[in-house]
Amino acid sequence: MGMDSLIGGTIWDEYSQKVTELMNNPKNMGEITQEQAEEMGTKLIVADFGAESCGDAVRLYWAVDPKDDRIVEAKFKSFGCGTAIASSDTMVELCKGKTVDEAVKITNIDVEKAMRDTPDVPAVPPQKMHCSVMAYDVIKKAAAQYKGVDMNSFETEFIVCECARVSLSTLKEVIRLNDLTTVEQITDYTKAGAFCKSCIKPGGHEAKDIYLVDLIEEYKKEKMTQTANTIASGGPVDFAQMTIVQKLKAVDKIIDDNIRQMLIMDGGDMEILDIKENGGYFDIYIRYLGACSGCASSSTGTLYAIENILRQKLDENIRVLPL
């Protein structure tokens, strides 16, 4: 939250002057007919993306010279809001004169940057970034049609956030390297989820195969499994990262390996009752059994021995509290 979030502005106020001008007078709006394409000695490509039922749709026309794959002329038609129209217009402008292979490399981010008035001020508000994605997708559709291939073949990586173009592999790496546990953190680190927000969780503007919440969940599970495996193999584990069950097992194992034998020899034993986090400390509540329960050393020497070994092996912030 914070002041800027409390009273919303009009999204239109955040449009660049260029977006406004293109909405009012799109330069490349129109169509190319079969006859016109033939007159130019070119192949006509007509590609559609989006759907009116989803709120935006674009039809892209290319006249491509078959000799060198160059886009000689390009036009668009669009059902959509101002930014959809301005983005389509800009996309078409960027296509013109390029070869099909070069055009495929144009991204939605290129389209958005081309609409900026000044290099460091976004041309559209975050929730409108989505409109430029459609402009990018329709290029791939047109190129696929021209080359007779599937449009997905142009995508070398799986993109989770299309607005910011953040791939699955990048997200997984950033989450792991920085130990990210919330969607807000992912957005801070990668910009994924900062725009139309469809990729955050199901129920947004667009349905997705993978959401950011899934990645967080997956990482949490991965971490849990990893910790469990390390405990099983006796390797060093960060006590603070363990689940409560893992903590209990880890403490029990240390006591089994180092303490219990000694207590049983004296005709006693102990059990763990609870583990609680308390202001940076881990308080382990225990109860002595058998002969130990009346023993004077149980609150001095034996207790220190238990506490020391746990601190040494697990975490220096462990406190052992006999009840």
Partner: protein, 399 residues
Amino acid sequence: MRVYLDNNATTIVDPHVKAEMDPFFVEKYGNPNSLHAFAGETHGPLKTAMEKIYAGIHAPKEDSVVITSCATESNNWVLKSVYFEYILTGRKNHIIVSEVEHPSVIATAKFIESQGCRVTYLPINSEGMIDPQSVRDNITNKTALVSVMWVNNETGAIFPVQEIGAICEEHKVLFHTDAVQAIGKIPVDVQSFNVDYLTFSAHKFHGPKGVGGLYMKKGKELMPLLHGGAQMGGLRSGTLNVAGIIGMGKAMEQAVDALDYEMTEIREMRDQFEDQLLEIKDTFVITPRAKRTPNTILISFRGIEGEAMLWDLNQAGIAASTGSACASEDLESNPVMEAIGADADLAHTAIRFSLSRYTTQDEMDYTIDIVRKAVERLRAISSSYAYAPAGHKSGLAAH
């Protein structure tokens, strides 16, 4: 020329209303609950304002018309207090609302649903109307409340609250209606049918923002939502919004006085404008005219995305609205368009024009001219009306 046709969102404050409010900022600023003359001089005007508000909805003196900060507060109050008194205590487990209620009802219903209350969301039919039979079909002996708006804000559809109220009475279920869009547009009389709670808001009928009301029938008073200094008979605490209440009183009086004008002159202006809009091809109006308030039109222009239409209107100084697609922050399509099961291609094409008694014929003439130009321009851009070569499959797949 600037033309304001978004009167279902808010209205101009009537200059007479503002004039009545003016003395209560600098001259007569006392807290009505204090014991001195500064307080005393507010009591008379407040009483007069309350009488006008009671008269405006025909509320008998023994019932309570509690002043709130807005309709959202009033609606929250009804649903949450019913939740606290009936659901949380286990006496009942269910409420019924329509699926096209204002967000202040829908979001509150969703909240109490998350707390364990069962909620039925009544569907609307293809005319955008609620069938009272659907209320009867969904009431159980565990139903605590039915909340159905009197007039839908998007379409202007007048819902059959009299019939729904009768069904609620028969089944001894509480009945609440959000009448925000009804005041000043159709006669509102809480004694003419069974209704326990009724919400209204001053800024929808040429009063100030930040003041609304909740009518509660005698014996059906809700537990307070706002606890504090026990103003409003302890029902709603918070220092009285003196100027706001006085403004709402005047606005209510004028809304009632202007009702005839609204139902004749404004209706005629609206109807004529609507006829002109419908002359444009591929246009569709939601909800038959006779079933709507006199001031509202929700119309679809095929092939034109709603926000694009708003853009062109705004460039020409005309204010209208759309609850659809790109226009709202959450990028959802118009909920009413979805609910009536409109052709999916039209879900993002609806524009709402809402008139008021301040709307003039000149403004309507100007607007129809601008709309025609905008439709022509935007359909020339639209892919829906675009050339496709023979054999081209549109392939407009969902994305």
